[in-house]
Symmetry: C2
Subunit: 263 residues, 2 copies
Amino acid sequence: MSLPPNDELTSFFGELCDAAAAMTLPLFRSKLGVINKLDAGFDPVTEADREAERVIRELIEKRYPEHGIIGEEFGRSRPDAALQWIIDPIDGTRAFISGIPVWGTLIGLYENGVPVAGAMDQPFTRERYISVGGEARLSVDGGAGEILTTKSTKNLKDATLMTTSPHLFSEEWEQAYFKVEEEVKLFRYGCDCYSYCLLAAGQVDLVIESGLNVYDIAALIPIVEAAGGMVTDWQGGDASQGGAILACANQDIHKEALALLNG
Amino acid sequence: MSLPPNDELTSFFGELCDAAAAMTLPLFRSKLGVINKLDAGFDPVTEADREAERVIRELIEKRYPEHGIIGEEFGRSRPDAALQWIIDPIDGTRAFISGIPVWGTLIGLYENGVPVAGAMDQPFTRERYISVGGEARLSVDGGAGEILTTKSTKNLKDATLMTTSPHLFSEEWEQAYFKVEEEVKLFRYGCDCYSYCLLAAGQVDLVIESGLNVYDIAALIPIVEAAGGMVTDWQGGDASQGGAILACANQDIHKEALALLNG
């Protein structure tokens, strides 16, 4: 089993994102109350989550029947395959149900456990981030898009930091996190997977989170790394299985943040 | 001096938003580093802020030369006029400089101190919220758009709360705020003016902030109120000059949140 060629992968990621968007976008900002009157058991985000993963899995099964799949909603298929597709159909469900377009559909591809390609799609803003063959691109509204590069900020005191919400950290971890927050120039809360894409796009300098699952980070590692950034855990080790994540625009920022988190 | 007819106002708000977007959007997500190499003193958000307010003021001066203007960047003109346009060219500058499309151009219209019409424009997501004649609409990608109505959530325990960042409150106020945060079903940080538009659009139930200026809230009051919501200060009084803001989807949520903030 070998990695499909870059062109084929790029085009297939596009197909997967289109198919998922057809499931998620019509349910984004749907009025829960209105829908609930028709069917008391209907939950738009759960429905969107399940349907998006279902169509992604179907397309993968059809195109690459020997590849493995790990999905947030429907678990693992062919766990021994060398190539594994890793899916979070809607990362940022809280943003989704609040109507904020910073959620995304995440699709990563691992080869023998190593993140090699990934896509993040935000269909409301029409942003599609795809990393294939060591090159990450953002297309807005279709087309090949622009090649992404991270920022070259040298010092943490000049950096912009993002995290989804500080209350997601345990107390001990929150204190380590706040050491970094106190040092940076600017911090922002609230963006889930969107933060990592902003990092790859050279808009922010670092993202710190904890408690991530493999499908929360799989697609994002190739996007950030291909743009020149680093994604590790809070000890500087492998982040490919999730956990506590430190994603940085470059080595300088990473070194300084790592020291503060462990200081 | 009388209020222009609704159709004229709606169309003029559109003109103002288009003109502002032409100044802001090209500078959104511009790479600071790249631009700074050309001109060390150039700051994209300051430039976008000033240029957007400049074109808005020019259009108002030309169309309604007797109306007053209050702008974040260039202050007051004709402060005694009965009709006052109130402008925040970029509300959410921190979001703007971080590349997150939850900032907005805010344009409000007061008649004898009473908020009567307003617009919020987010050109990257192509969302335009306009309230005229007691009707608030959201258009995405042009067109007349859909009429907005707030949620009918009855109890705070089922509500979604938004605030830009809890660290923006003073310590005493933060404690009052946290009483509400602890009660709600879901809370989200990070959205500035965008939160109030989500409230009007029936996506979230309440927004709590403090320290707002008149130009931070002027455009948003008519949008939320026309959709069926309420905007007051933390004591339930007039919010039209800014300060500490409690914006709610309906009276039930407002009553409960007000009691907690003052309990």
